[in-house]
Amino acid sequence: MTQTHAEQTQAQVSAEMTALTEAYDASATVETQTRLDYPPYRSSLLRHPTKDLHHADPEGIELWSPVFGERDIDPLEADLTLQHDGEPIGERMKVTGRVLDGDGRPVRHQLVEIWQANAGGRYVHKRDQHPAAIDPHFTGVGRCLTDADGTYSFTTIKPGPYPWRNHRNAWRPAHIHFSLFGSEFTQRMVTQMYFPGDPLFALDPIFQAIVDRSARERLVAAYDHDVTEHEWATGYRWDIVLTGTHRTPLEEDES
């Protein structure tokens, strides 16, 4: 009888990941992005295109991005610890960094959205069945606009790792989901920020779907004592680089 994904062991999945990494290391190519076709992540098997992406120069509407402003965001949404009447459980932390385009220019006054599990690794989502406590004082959703320097900043709780059903005893490294817009539609991105030194990195097929070690490291925040606040919160710094722009910057982008 065929083994279901849920019955496969970490050792089996790890062996697949090791083989893919070794094949990449033996090739002379350099990949900077996440593979869409990465079989160790079982849910991707039927959900990745099999044909090459079609190269196209962006035109018209693709050279612009939606505009978000003060009417879209309450400044309090940047503090995930203030959304309820009490203090959430866990390690209070700040995470800040800059959103840059591929030419190093700050992405100004643009929307950043984050979502995450709580300190126990539980999401406030009706389909999350992980038997860890829901924290009544933590939802795990934040939004802000970058400032004129491209800087975003959130106050939150450090998320816990959590189990998932890719294979038996599969665990995701702790992470915060980030959703980003640039100044052009083509720069739209959703990604995940991880924490330094997580022992689950090598075991996780979503993180390892970036087969290049230095590319993977671009998703790992750095502990930054200058962000840490005295007797209040630890601090992490993580910069995000979007793809390059195609449109000549206009005055409105520089204001």
Binding site: T32, P49, G60, F68, W115, D128
Partner: protein
């Protein structure tokens, strides 16, 4: 200075509580003059619906202008922002209420720019849903011309009585043409 872009990652299974907001899929209210339905299904390589995908659209106004107005997250019911976001339902269907986009330059074939996210999809995909009907403009479109003929139809929406239908096939027969806009 050229920087290497940060890699994307899957949106995962638990995005709805963060990314889906009231009114996100209604770029105009139902009953607004000129309102159309823009809908379709997201399908996987077996032809099965993807019930945990997120689709975003970004489009010009009917007169072809690029909207520079905020308010997509808290709509005021009057301002057309050109941007919307809709999750798929159990049948893999997403649905927007919007306006028909116009041509951003005279004679160009109008289209809706589409972004697809899903659990199991390791990075977002970008594509275009061209407005059907103007065969001259579609026939002259440089992007459509650069796509092999057998796959062109995956980029063109079809008309129904309420607006347009645009199915997105992530893999397999009729796989949608997805775009790579990176500079070389």
């Amino acid at each position: 200075m050229t920087l290497v872009p940060t890699p994307g990652q899957t949106v995962g299974p638990f995005f709805a509580f963060a990314l889906v907001h009231d009114g996100g899929a209604e770029l105009v209210p139902h009953g607004h003059p000129g309102a159309i339905r823009f809908t379709g299904r997201v399908l996987d390589g077996a032809g099965d619906p993807v019930p945990d995908a997120l689709v975003e659209i970004w489009q010009a106004a009917p007169d072809g202008s690029v909207v520079r107005a905020p308010g997509s997250l808290h709509r005021d019911g009057f301002t057309f922002t050109g941007w919307g976001r809709a999750p798929t339902d159990r049948s893999g269907r997403y649905t927007f209420t919007t306006l028909t986009p116009g041509a951003t330059t005279p004679g160009a074939a109008p289209y809706v720019a589409v972004t697809v996210f899903a659990r199991g999809l390791l990075d977002r995909l970008l594509t275009r849903a061209y407005v059907p009907g103007d065969d001259a403009a579609l026939g002259a479109d440089p992007l459509l011309a650069s796509v092999e003929e057998a796959r062109r139809a995956t980029l063109v929406a079809t008309a129904d009585e309420h607006g347009f239908v645009f199915d997105i096939r992530l893999q397999g027969d009729g796989e949608t043409v997805f775009l790579d806009h990176r500079r070389d």
